[in-house]
C-alpha cells in the first residue's frame, strides 16, 4: 500500500476528511464540538470551521480542503433556508460528489425535505456518537 509517514505503513485507506461547520447565526457549538472530537478519535481528519460561517465560506473550505464530507450543525431553525443554499453552492463549485450531513434541532417533518434536496443523512438530538461514526464508515468512498 502507501504510507503516511516515514515510520508507519499505511495499511488502511487514507483518513476521511470532513468539514464541520455551523452556518447562520446560532451560537450553540457544544454539539458540533462533541461530534468533532468523536470523529477525530475514530481516526478521521476533522476540519473544524466553527461558528457563524457563511455558506460561501463553508463551500470554499470544502473545496480547498478536498473534503469527502460536510457536516452542518443548525440549531436556529433556518435549515430549510441554509441547507439548500449550501447544496446549490456546492453544485456550482463542482463539488456534487461531497456528501452532506445535517445535525441539530431538525423537526421530524422537515427531514424528508432535506433528504429530497440531497442531504445524505440527518442526525437529530439523541443520536449516539457511535451511530454517526458507524454510518460514516459504512459509506463507500467517492
Amino acid at each position: 500500500m502507501t504510507t503516511t509517514s516515514a515510520t508507519t505503513p499505511q495499511t488502511t485507506s487514507p483518513p476521511l476528511r470532513i468539514v464541520l461547520a455551523k452556518v447562520g447565526l446560532d451560537g450553540h457549538d457544544r454539539g458540533i464540538k462533541v461530534v468533532a472530537r468523536a470523529l477525530r478519535d475514530a481516526g478521521m481528519h476533522v476540519i473544524y470551521a466553527g461558528l457563524w460561517q457563511t455558506p460561501e465560506a463553508v463551500v470554499r473550505a470544502v473545496a480547498d480542503e478536498d473534503a469527502d464530507w460536510l457536516g452542518l450543525s443548525i440549531l436556529s431553525g433556518a435549515h430549510l433556508t441554509l441547507v439548500p443554499r449550501v447544496l446549490e453552492l456546492l453544485r456550482q463549485a463542482g463539488l456534487s460528489h461531497v456528501r452532506v450531513l445535517v445535525g441539530g434541532i431538525i423537526p421530524e417533518k422537515d427531514i424528508p425535505a432535506l433528504l429530497e434536496m440531497g442531504v445524505a443523512r440527518v442526525f437529530v438530538p439523541g443520536t449516539s456518537l457511535d451511530d454517526i461514526v458507524a454510518y460514516l464508515r459504512a459509506q463507500p468512498r467517492t
Binding site: 500500500m1 487514507p14 477525530r40
Partner: protein
Amino acid sequence: MLSGLLQRFRAGDRLALARLLSLVSNGQHVEAIRAALPVPTQASCVVALTGAGGVGKSSLTGKLLDPIRASGRSVAVLACDPQSPLSGGALLGDRFRMPAFADDPGVYIRSLAAAGGQGALASHLDTLIALVEAFGFEVVLIETVGAGQGDTAVRALVDVLVLLLQPETGDELQWEKAGLLEVADVVVLHKADLPGADRVAAQITASLSLSAGEPPPLLRVSSRTEIGIAELWQTIEQRPRRRAQRSDPARLLRLAQDLLADRFWQRAELLEQWRSGQLDDLTAARLLLGDSPGH
C-alpha cells in the same frame, strides 16, 4: 486518472490542486506527481511560522494575509496540526482562526495533519510546498504544529523561518536552550500588548546579541491590536531566500527520505526476505538503497 488530474492542475483548477495535495499527504504517487510538476514561472516566497502551542501562530498567519494581499500577491497557507499517534485522527482547527477570504481566488488555505516523530512536519511537506508553488501562489505560509523546542526541521524547507515567542513563557534560560533562537531568521515577540513584554524583549535581545554573526531582527507584534503586522511582513520580505540560494542541503535530504520511505513500503518481497531471516539488516537496507548485496 493521475494524468487527467495533472492536466486540470496545469489549467489552474483549484479542485485538482486540492486533490493532489491529498494524494501527496497520503503518500500516494508522490514521486510521479513531483516529477510532473511544471517549473514555477517564479519562485514563491515560502515562510514558516513556528513556536510553542498557544503562542498565536494561526492568528498571526491570518493577520499576515492582509498585507500580502494588499501588495497584490496571491498566498497559500499550509496549516499543520497534530495527528493522533493512536487513532490517526486529527482535529484541524487553524482555519477557524483565519479570515475566510471566501470570494478571493488569491487565497488558498489548507489544513494538514502532522504525524509525530518527524520534527512536527506534515508528511511530504516539501512536495506540498512544490505543488502550491507550481500552481502559482506567490507566497506560501507554513504554520507548524508548534512542538516548541526542536521544531526546527522546517527551516531547511523554507525561505524564511519566523519564530514566535510570547511574554510569560518561562525564565530567561528558555532563550538559551539550543535550537530555537539560533535557527530563526526573524524573531517575533507576539502578544506584545501584554504586560511583561518589555522585560522579555530585553532578555531576547540580550540572548540574540551573544551569538556570533548578525542577530536576526526582533519585532514586537500583537495580532489583537494589529501592532507590528505590516512591519513584520516588510521584514520577512527583505530577508534572503534560503531555498533560492540552495544554501541548506537538508531540504534535499528530506526529499530523498520522503521518496525512500514510499519505496520502502512497496518493497514487499524484500521485507518478506528480511522477515524470514534470509537477509540481515544491513544487506536489506542496502538493497533498499539500490546497492548490490555484499557491496
